[in-house]
Symmetry: C2
Subunit: 343 residues, 2 copies
Amino acid sequence: MPEARRHAIQGGVPMAATDTTAANELLAVRAAELYYEENKTQDEIGAILRVTRWKVGRLLQQARDRGIIRIEIVHPRARRLSLERELTASFGLRDAIVVPGPPDDRELQARVAEAAADFLVSVRPIPRLLGVSWGRTLHQVAECLPEGWSTGVNVVQINGGVSLSKRPGTAASTAVMIAQKAGGEATLLPTPAILERLETKRAIEGDRTVSGVVQRARGAAAYLYSAGVADTSSVHVDSGYLTPDDMRSLVEKGAVGDVIGRYITAEGTIADPELDARTLGLGLDELRDSPMSILVIGGEAKHPVAHAIVQHGLCSVLVTDEHTARSLLDAAPDSTTSGEDPS
Amino acid sequence: MPEARRHAIQGGVPMAATDTTAANELLAVRAAELYYEENKTQDEIGAILRVTRWKVGRLLQQARDRGIIRIEIVHPRARRLSLERELTASFGLRDAIVVPGPPDDRELQARVAEAAADFLVSVRPIPRLLGVSWGRTLHQVAECLPEGWSTGVNVVQINGGVSLSKRPGTAASTAVMIAQKAGGEATLLPTPAILERLETKRAIEGDRTVSGVVQRARGAAAYLYSAGVADTSSVHVDSGYLTPDDMRSLVEKGAVGDVIGRYITAEGTIADPELDARTLGLGLDELRDSPMSILVIGGEAKHPVAHAIVQHGLCSVLVTDEHTARSLLDAAPDSTTSGEDPS
DNA sequence: GCAGATCGTGCTCAGATGAGCAGAGCGTGG
DNA sequence: CCACGCTCTGCTCATCTGAGCACGATCTGC
């Protein structure tokens, strides 16, 4: 009966546009409640709200689009797939793992490490030889790996790490633990990370066993490493490789942090070439050109060094927390909302 | 080959149970991410996680049951249907409306009022005569009602409310606004809420017009009212009906708040019979026995009086916020998780 | 006042999903 | 050693749901 209809409309209030929009929003809320909280079918909801079931479907669609319905996965091992997608797209990464960021920094490190371990377990093809760095983060990753996480993965240390002062052997134990849990062998690099004199470094490097280890490291199918912050609380200062003054000097030269022992600037360049020459182990280019280099990094303090590494292609896989991920994306060069349409 | 299987199990680690549970949980998290964040079908997820699509469905079910997936409807007009169900079940209410509780008290009052207005609009059958109380909350409800919210609903005031000091006429304006917006007429009760002397009250009550109004109020199809807290910031003190000393005395006698001008204790009884005798308007029994009495109440401060009203059957419909609702349910007598299985 | 653009609606139909069922693996107790 | 119960699995089938389409209503510019 189009006659009656037209009549009613002409006689009614002419504020239709805004009115119906608001009414629809309220309807959408009611529909969402009945659908998501009461587990009713769209058909039932249609009967309750006096609309067709197709309209209910559209209302729910609107509610999702407009963010009225928020779906969250609350679990320590949850991930942020959308951020991962954006990261891989923005920085041309091979893969990215992003975990939700709890406020507590300790908890955050643990989750990132766990995620890194999960990733390592699932890497295909299995890297027969894995190059690893060392440090607190890497050690946590090693601990998270389950016994027998792989079969016959050999591990090689990619930078020196015989601690001069406290906690001797952490560097070695990390590599050994990863290898042992996969039933493989660990090849250690039993030298200091940074030598005091260039000549000493050259001499050690010339040693048959040491050069053999480095040579072996160059052939690794994947590298696993973290990064340190350039400040006086760094492990390099703690371990006695660098004095607090050295560190201050590095910061003055623009260093933001270290990657496998080498201090870099925000531009991704070596902060102090002279110091770098005295640093033993793999070079940055080898990391960059490797088939797979996995950076494990999390926490506010490490944002600057994470930026430097990711923006300059030093890693091909990134394991991090969501705050770091967002920070990276905010600074991304050409993230013109690419990868924004997941429908 | 059951032989080989059994062998493997006997030889392996006997922590099978925990292991698979944990693995399933992780799988459930991954499935949830792909389903809810990536909009993949259960079939696609099955292909990715190497399980059948039926298992994916079960994993998602588990994830929902275990609370891994949290679905929230974020909207000022959202409601808490599960709490509503629990309230109606626990207290034998005819209906309950629960809105989410924002931290801001002002905002909360606004939402409760809006919800009350929404409810009033949708009440069926339409009450041809509506008895209303007055106060800040009720005034807000009146303002929230849309113009033409109903057709020909008449309104009658159920308790006295001529203010002695500031803001004269708020009581009247509430009733008038509700009636006017529904195209009906308002019948006012132009008397003080509480009289100083019993004789005066009797005299006013004996007046033909006043008794007529009260008589009319008794026939209302529904009552709409709020409640006040028993403290010196009460409107009764503000308006001069009670002195701060009166109020202190009331509190000593166990008063938690007032319902249509009558102060009650936590046990639902009249706190001070002498004072009550001087209070003009409908009695509590008439509220209790009415076909529908709608209580609109929200906010931390009003929890005690809300408890008293709801637990002693003074309202049949409750409009409130979720904190108040939870508070009521926590104190509920026999809420043996009834109404907990909405599947 | 009218043709074209735009929007919202109700529908068809195929694809996605959940309930229910039979069978296999696994532990338990006779 | 086997019968029994329990749990988990994969399946069938009915139901639910979203994409796409045609239609009518409204809005816009000429």
